[in-house]
């Protein structure tokens, strides 16, 4: 079966981020989106640890231990960027000033509930970081994840079985098989990977799907 590669997924997310947007890219897969933002768009990357207008990774040898991102990797600051403290940084999220955040996920429910911080395993050490703040901290919350687990189970579900990160917070899901909107009417498919039929996508998905307006038009 054809699947979007991780780069294709990141590129597809990037396509939905317009010029001028303030964006937080979560740790892991979402970080890749930065490499696919069109060079001709000015997009402002926010990092929870207190910077805005984050630039690319520094050249080897130019790393600065005081200039890192949320994943604690060395980064740079663009001209026009700014530093601020943690309360101000999370005020930007909680106050609804970010336009988009892009998060990884274990599960997303049909109503947009998000589970992405804890598997609930008894022996796991819980660590939440900024996940719950990000889940409620942008005008649009995008999730970027594989459509199914390695065992083939759908990560899109009727109701999350893992501990929740946020309730009814996800707006759009980008997987390696499709782009799906969470709407008041339920899940609506925006795009499907080439060669995959809608019915087949539905079979691989743990919640009811409908064809969204764009998909209907293209078919």
């Amino acid at each position: 079966m054809q699947r979007f590669t991780r780069d294709e997924m990141a590129s597809r997310v990037a396509r939905d981020i317009p010029e001028g947007a303030y964006v937080n890219l979560g740790i892991g897969l979402p970080t890749m989106v930065a490499n696919h933002l069109p060079k001709d768009r000015e997009i402002f990357l926010h990092s929870e640890n207190g910077l805005l207008a984050m630039g690319p990774a520094p050249a080897p040898g130019s790393e600065d231990a005081d200039l890192i991102n949320a994943g604690k990797q060395p980064v740079t600051l663009l001209p026009g960027g700014a530093y601020f403290h943690h309360a101000d940084s999370f005020a930007m999220m909680r106050g609804g000033h970010l336009d988009f955040c892009v998060l990884g996920a274990f599960q997303v429910s049909k109503t947009g509930d998000l589970a992405n911080w804890h598997t609930g395993a008894k022996d796991a050490i819980p660590a939440v970081g900024g996940a719950m703040d990000l889940a409620i901290g942008a005008k649009k919350v995008y999730v970027m994840m594989e459509h199914t687990t390695k065992q083939g189970q759908s990560k899109i579900v009727d109701a999350c079985t893992y501990p929740l990160t946020g309730i009814r917070c996800v707006n759009r899901i980008f997987t390696d098989l499709a782009v799906i909107d969470v709407t008041p009417r339920g899940l609506e498919v925006v795009e499907i990977v080439d060669g995959l039929a809608f019915d087949e996508l539905q079979r691989l998905t743990g919640a009811p799907l409908a064809a969204g307006p764009a998909l209907k038009e293209s078919q």
Binding site: Y22, E42, L52, A53, P79, G80, A82
Partner: protein, 238 residues
């Protein structure tokens, strides 16, 4: 390319609508965005709710906005001053509504709006008439009053320098309410003494990051752009 710098104060306030809630920076006249207020008077928006620490001084700036009968209600901490005669007479005539808020609660309510806080318990005002009817609670042996955020449609503020991404620095005590009002409004309009190139402001010293600012306008406009500004001003509803 993102350029938040707009050519004139008239253009900057062109969409402020009747009935809008407008925060206006300043403590007395320090930090008051007088040119933006003048443009708002020209625009002629009515029935505004204004949030400011005071209620105008003399006959200019905020006082002129009140005098032009643009303001239905004012939320402030200290309306009565030796030179607040415009407000005084409107208030005595029952032509303006006043919501009086202790200054620190005013600042914190504005900050709460910008920070996405739903409500907070403050000790200020407990047991006074300004807490009448408000929910109270004892926490760890101290008494608190529940206060809610103040959101706005627009904020008009004055900064010293700004860039095309909306980053701002202020000057001395003219900073006052500017940074928190910028965070609490859907659309923040900053008049600046000077615009600078991107990277012209020290990232360690930027007080208001551009994420909180939608429009930047140089005011007073310099000699070169003044004719255009005057021209624009003659078409108030453009």
């Amino acid at each position: 390319m993102i350029n938040k710098i707009v050519p004139s104060v008239a253009a900057a306030v062109a969409d402020i609508h009747d009935g809008a809630t407008v925060m206006i920076g300043g403590f007395g006249t320090a930090g008051m965005p007088s040119e933006l207020i003048d443009a708002l008077i020209e625009r002629g928006a009515r029935q505004l709710t204004v949030v400011n620490n005071n209620a105008g001084n003399g006959d200019t700036g905020l006082a002129a906005l009140l005098k032009a009968k643009c303001v239905r209600k004012i939320i402030c901490s200290f309306p009565r001053q030796t030179d607040s005669w415009v407000f005084d007479s409107l208030y005595r005539a029952g032509e303006i509504e006043l919501e009086l808020v202790p200054q620190g609660n005013l600042a914190e309510r504005i900050r709460a709006a910008g920070a996405g806080i739903g409500a907070f318990f403050t000790p200020t005002g407990y047991g006074t008439m300004l807490a009448d009817g408000k929910e109270t609670r004892e926490i760890d042996g101290r008494q608190f009053v529940l206060e809610k955020p103040i959101h706005a449609d627009f904020a008009l503020i004055k900064a010293d320098r700004g860039d095309r991404w909306g980053n701002l620095v202020y000057r001395k005590t003219a900073r006052n309410f500017g940074p928190i009002m910028a965070s609490a409004a859907k659309c923040t309009i900053a008049q600046v003494r000077e615009t600078v190139d991107l990277g012209g402001l020290d990232p360690e010293a930027i007080v208001t990051p551009g994420i909180f600012v939608q429009r930047v306008v140089r005011a007073p406009a310099d000699a070169l752009s003044e004719p255009q500004a005057v021209l624009t001003r003659s078409r108030p509803n453009s």
